[in-house]
């Protein structure tokens, strides 16, 4: 023990000055003047509203991605003391002095800056030289589009940071000697960043899968290694599965756990969720339903909410207006009272549950609960009409039956107002009809049709409310057939007048209703994946194939009075270099493969492995971040291409180094190779210089200052398809 501690105590530290230098430059390019412009820039208007909701702890659904990204942005806002009181409604709106813009934008900018040293380290882990690493770092450093994207409250830089971190730490783990235990720290870090990658954006999933593929290839080699004992192989495999599969999945769920425990107040998106979910939020539904009786009994007064929230959530409704005798197309109706689904709270949404065998509309003491299979009648609270259905075609969906409030016109159309209660989730809940929890189908006894929300808006005579029908031919699992009791109280008044007064009075009483985290998680995740927003083309949207050649740009911000503006435009020279190296790599790989197959080994096996690994990570990374967009039916923007672009920048210098050290040395005579190598170096330097120059040229559009004249702007329009804004003077 004492021998370990030798005097004098010496600390040796190796500092890679290049790494420090590029990091400093990265921080300078990403963080300087971060709070300029002091106005809402592009998608900040979108993310900002969620940040505000986080600050107010109000529940929301965003289908664009899992919650970690929003949480990171919100954390930045929290650090800056943002109180959520800002209306994000317009790009270009000035921030008031109370909003700390710097802190809002700090975290994405930090992530963006850290990408540069990460790329440097990643190149080293791919076993290329420091010079290549420097090249990759410089390419990333001087990429205008990455700078723009990192400097605002946007998520791409965060995504790229975590992706690079995951790959870097995995390769660190893989390259470390198998005896050291510290390498498992890297493996865990890799798993954690994978969890973060998927937590920030769904697109990250593809990068995560790529990492898994690379890892399983390595593991496959490990399995084939016969020098390792069976036990050791099993242990290693289990470690990898734990760190790279279990940890990310747990983390992903954990983000949702944090999300849901933070957002516990009701908000604008409540109505998309089930009644049970809403009841778990403070305010909103829980304020109304708190303390309602749980079991629905004969004589209960209820509102019935349809389980579908498409197109909008609504409640079963009736009012003192009849169906028109004839519809516009000449078809006849029963001319009985309309029954619709109404998307607003209204006293006409109340229905009373009646026992067909008895006359009274009040609840007995003790209450007799309604069970699965019972036959009931539903009486409309305000008009006392019975819910009725018959063999008359429904107004908008003529293949289904009309549902009406029954009026006896003495036209040999008898009342058919018996409904059987069919609780579809009785296995999970109970046989007894429960408020909020039970999902109920109302089966018409005479025709065995089921009460259904067809979702079609009625014309003017139905006040544009939604049509309700009874459908015989239904699909087994369709939520348009399910109804839940949302508001509920035991009726006490037999007289119609008293009952009306009772219906107008608000419900109250107190019990807490719990819903487990898992149920909430599953419901929220499902809703996020299925909620469809209206997709429409945006002025600056573009198609994936246009990204490769950078056909379009995006105007992020324009000064309210001058020509100062910020655009998402990449560095055209680096863009071209990236594309070229992608092509070159593929060509080279094909030539190598064919020649190796014929037994001609151009490069030693070690170098070949290095070359293949480079391709797996970089070309593979580009593919998984680009190809899925081709199949997507979404509105896409240039910034979706940025993660794929980073892989190309990682590839270019490494490929150049490969060409320099191997291709030129082996492919030519020795005396020529030196001149070729020199020419290559000079060429690379020239390209780097021109990258720097184009970076300088586009700086005004990247940082939004200085302001350029219209003539200068015209000069920056290198492509006809770019949209650069000029102010008319």
């Amino acid at each position: 023990m004492w021998k370990m501690l030798q005097l004098p105590l010496v600390v040796t530290a190796q500092v890679d000055l290049l790494l420090v230098l590029v990091s400093l430059l990265a921080f300078w390019t990403r963080l300087s003047h971060l709070s300029y412009p002091n106005a809402v820039v592009f998608d900040e208007v979108y993310y900002g509203q969620f940040v505000s909701l986080y600050m107010k702890r109000v529940f929301f659904i965003d289908d664009s991605g899992p919650p970690l990204g929003h949480m990171i942005l919100a954390f930045g806002a929290y650090l800056g003391g943002f109180d959520g009181n800002f209306v994000w409604n317009r790009i270009g709106a000035e921030y008031p002095t109370t909003v700390n813009v710097w802190s809002l934008r700090l975290l994405p900018a930090l992530c963006g800056a850290l990408c540069v040293p990460l790329v440097y380290l990643l190149t080293l882990e791919l076993k290329f030289s420091h010079l290549s690493a420097l090249g990759a770092a410089v390419l990333l450093l001087l990429e205008n589009s990455l700078i723009v994207q990192s400097r605002f409250m946007l998520l791409e830089s965060v995504l790229i940071f975590f992706v690079l971190l995951a790959f870097f730490s995995y390769l660190r783990f893989h390259n470390a000697p198998s005896s050291s235990w510290s390498r498992y720290i890297w493996l865990i870090l890799s798993g954690v960043s994978c969890g973060a990658v998927v937590g920030v954006k769904y697109m990250g999933l593809f990068s995560y899968l790529l990492l898994l593929v690379v890892a399983s290839l390595h593991t496959w080699k490990l399995i084939g290694d016969k020098t390792i004992s069976h036990r050791n192989v099993c242990v290693q495999c289990v470690h990898r599965v734990l760190c790279l599969v279990v940890v990310p999945v747990l983390l992903y769920v954990f983000w949702f756990y944090v999300h849901l425990s933070f957002l516990n107040r009701s908000g604008p998106h409540d109505q998309l969720m089930s009644s049970a979910f809403q009841a778990s939020l403070q305010g909103g539904l829980s304020r109304i339903t708190r303390g309602q009786p749980l079991e629905v009994a004969y004589g209960s007064q209820v509102t019935l909410r349809s389980s579908v929230s498409q197109p909008i959530p609504c409640w079963l409704h009736s009012h003192k207006v009849n169906y028109p005798i004839r519809y516009d197309n000449g078809r006849g109706s029963s001319h009985q009272q309309q029954v619709t689904c109404y998307p607003f709270k209204d006293v006409n949404n109340w229905w009373i549950i009646k026992d067909p065998g008895r006359q009274q509309l009040v609840v007995d003491t003790p209450p007799r609960p309604v069970r699965h299979g019972d036959v009931i009648q539903l009486v409309h609270g305000m008009t006392s009409r019975f819910l009725n259905s018959h063999d008359v075609a429904a107004p908008m969906s003529p293949h289904t039956q009309e549902v009406s409030g029954y009026i006896d016109f003495n036209v040999s159309m008898p009342a058919q107002n018996l409904w059987r209660v069919d609780i579809s989730n009785r296995e999970a809940e109970s046989e007894v009809w429960k408020t909020i929890l039970s999902e109920v189908r109302l089966v018409h006894v005479n025709t065995s049709a089921v009460l259904k929300l067809s979702g079609v808006p009625l014309p003017d005579w139905g006040f544009r409310q939604l049509e309700v029908v009874a459908d015989k031919l239904f699909k087994a699992h369709s939520s348009s057939l399910e109804w839940t009791v949302e508001e509920h109280r035991y009726g006490t008044s037999q007289e119609q007048k008293e009952r009306e007064a009772e219906l107008h009075s608000p419900t109250h009483i107190d019990v807490d209703r719990k819903i487990s985290f898992w149920a909430k998680f599953v419901e929220l995740q499902w809703k996020m994946l299925t909620v469809k927003q209206e997709e429409s083309e945006h002025k600056y949207s573009s198609s994936p194939l246009e990204w490769i050649t950078m056909e379009t740009n995006i105007a992020y911000w324009l000064h309210s009075s001058t020509n100062a503006q910020i655009h998402l435009i990449g560095n055209p020279v680096s863009w071209g270099v990236g594309n070229l190296s992608l092509l070159a790599y593929q060509l080279l790989a094909v030539v190598y493969l064919l020649r190796r197959r014929r037994g001609l080994k151009d490069v030693p096996d070690g170098v070949w492995d290095q070359f293949v690994c480079l391709g797996c990570v970089c070309v593979g990374g580009w593919l998984v971040n680009f190809v899925p967009f081709l199949l997507m039916d979404k509105t896409l923007f240039l910034y979706h291409y940025l993660p794929a672009l980073c892989y190309l920048y990682l590839l270019s210098p490494a490929l150049l180094e490969h060409a320099h050290t191997h291709l030129l040395r082996y492919a030519h005579q020795l005396q020529h190779s030196l001149t070729h190598q020199r020419a290559l170096c000079v060429g690379a330097l020239a390209v780097l210089l021109s990258i720097f120059l184009t970076y300088r040229t586009f700086c005004p559009l990247t940082y939004g200052s200085p302001e350029l004249s219209a003539h200068q702007l015209q000069g920056l329009k290198w492509r006809d398809t770019w949209d650069i804004l000029y102010r008319r003077r």
């Binding site: 399995i223 084939g224 969906s397 083309e537 197959r597 014929r598 199949l631």
Partner: protein, 685 residues
Amino acid sequence: MLVAGLSFSTRLYKLTEPPHVCWDETHFGKMGSYYINRTFFFDVHPPLGKMLIGLAGYMSGYNGTFPFIKPGDKYENQNYWGMRGFCAVLGSFLPIFAYLIVLELSNSCTAAIIAATLLIFDTGCITISQYILLDPILMFFIMAAVLSMVKFNQQRYRSFTASWWFWLVLTGINLAGALGVKFVGLFVIVLVGLNTIGDLWRLLGDMSLSLVDIAKHFLARAFALILLPLILYVTIFAVHFVVLNKSGPGDGFFSSAFQSRLIGNNLHNASMPEYLAFGSTVTIKNLRIAGGYLHSHWHLYPEGVGARQQQVTAYLHKDYNNLWVVHRQQDNNSQSGNPDLVRHGDIVRLEHKETTRNLHSHLHEAPLTKKHFQVTGYGINGTGDANDLWQMEVCGGRKGDPVKVLRSKVRFLHRATGCVLYSSGKTLPKWGWEQIEVTCSPYLKETPSSQWNIEDHINPKLPNISLSVLKPNFLEILLESHIVMFRGNSGLKPKDNEMNSKPWHWPINYQGLRFSGVNATEYRVYLLGNPVVWWINLASLGLYFTMVAVASIATQRGFSLGQQRIEHSLVLVRGGGLLMLGWLLHYAPFFTMGRILYFHHYFPAMLFSSMLTGLTLDILFRSADLLLHPPYSYWFQRTGQLLLLFSILYSFYLFHPLSYGMTGPLAHEPGSAMAGLKWMDSWEF
């Protein structure tokens, strides 16, 4: 032989029942009739399948007069059995092919018999083979292609012999056939392509072959698998165009030049004034393929979509709402004598003949393409504002050139905003009657989308001259018809109310398709796989993965295995891998498709899955000796096979009314023949 006998008898039994039009027979039967009548039509599938149907009908004495209007129409005394019989015969070959393929791949008769039995007694395969549909023809070619490919693989040590060539060429022919029936044939082409690449890769690694030999191998395959199918495919289209030379319902989808080929079309040997003049009534067709006519109607753009003015769209069908009148800037209708010709650079005003509104554009976003401006119909009786003025330009023309009808490509430049009239090709939502969007594009690049030609031209004051439009050559027609087909295919979006089948429904046999009959009184046929067969297939897929994983880990770790085991794992990896690939290629792409999907799209994949089942189960039974000692393992093997056979036969006995027709009450009511067989709520019989 037994397989063949059973296969034919199950497929041909009750072939002519029901004697009315079932499901998609309404399309494909109709198109068969079009061939017999030589009328031009448009369909999203390539023509071979319908040509064969037409041919079969013609041979069996069907005269092409039955209209095939809607499912349920009675055939009366038409000769429809020929067409159905043709499809059923092709469908009967499927189990035979499956038998042969599995036999080649596994060298095991048991495996082959299992695969064939699964297919023979699958109610779904029977049903889909019995009607006038493209699917039996398609599946026939797919299976034949796979069979010849497998046979060809077996010939690998006898290169360039006659049988080698025979199977190679046969593969190519079948590929052309598969692609010629439906574009789904592309998947089998990919399968064969991947197999060929693997084969060439193997040859390349064979150091005993010189590069010249490899080049020969490559060229032979390139000829038989690329060039030959391509030639055949083009030939099919050539026959298609030669046979269909009369004008019919598909005309409007095609360009003016294309239409001039068709007898009976108004552009065939057309006669009209040669140069466009002021005061003429014209139709204006977009030059983009399947671009449509400039169209307007009384309906307005809905609220929230630009200005609330009259819609202007592009419409594919011929219609009086496609007529526009060319006017000068200031209206001077009272012209006497010969009207002035419209020349390059002239300012015109286009008035919609039916509604008397002017073609108009302004600085509002277009409804779908937000980068462009909205185009509307504005004003009344020809009086509008300065935004109604368009400058007419002949592409490649100079100032003063007249505009030739049909032949000149013209562009319409909007005077006020400088944008150009453009058809984006996007389909408008319901409010626009699903017609095509027309916008005004500020990007002035010359593309077919922004170029138009004058098609019909009516001006009584000018002499009519017979025009022979430049007849398009064959390649142009071929290209055009393909682009139109692809547009049509992607245009088949699911409608709101229509039943919509999802790809994950298919392998679990979640929901079938109603072929005929709904109510208790009708003769009902329901396309649904035999659930026992399909669920065995599903289970085998999982089993296959487990077995391959176990086998390959054992090999990779270097466990010593017996000779027999090694053979088994080779069959699993090679033969099973091929079938697995086939299944994936015929199934996975549907997940990415945006068009409307039906249950029957799964059937080609199901064939592969059944063959894989045969192979997997056979090896599973044979591997019983891993756990049991010799006599018991043999008994286990036999019992397993018998049990499998019995369960398939019994389930076929239970479910056979699905394909051979049911009458009487529906299955959820007690008195039905199918009572108690509704194992899933989603089945609708």
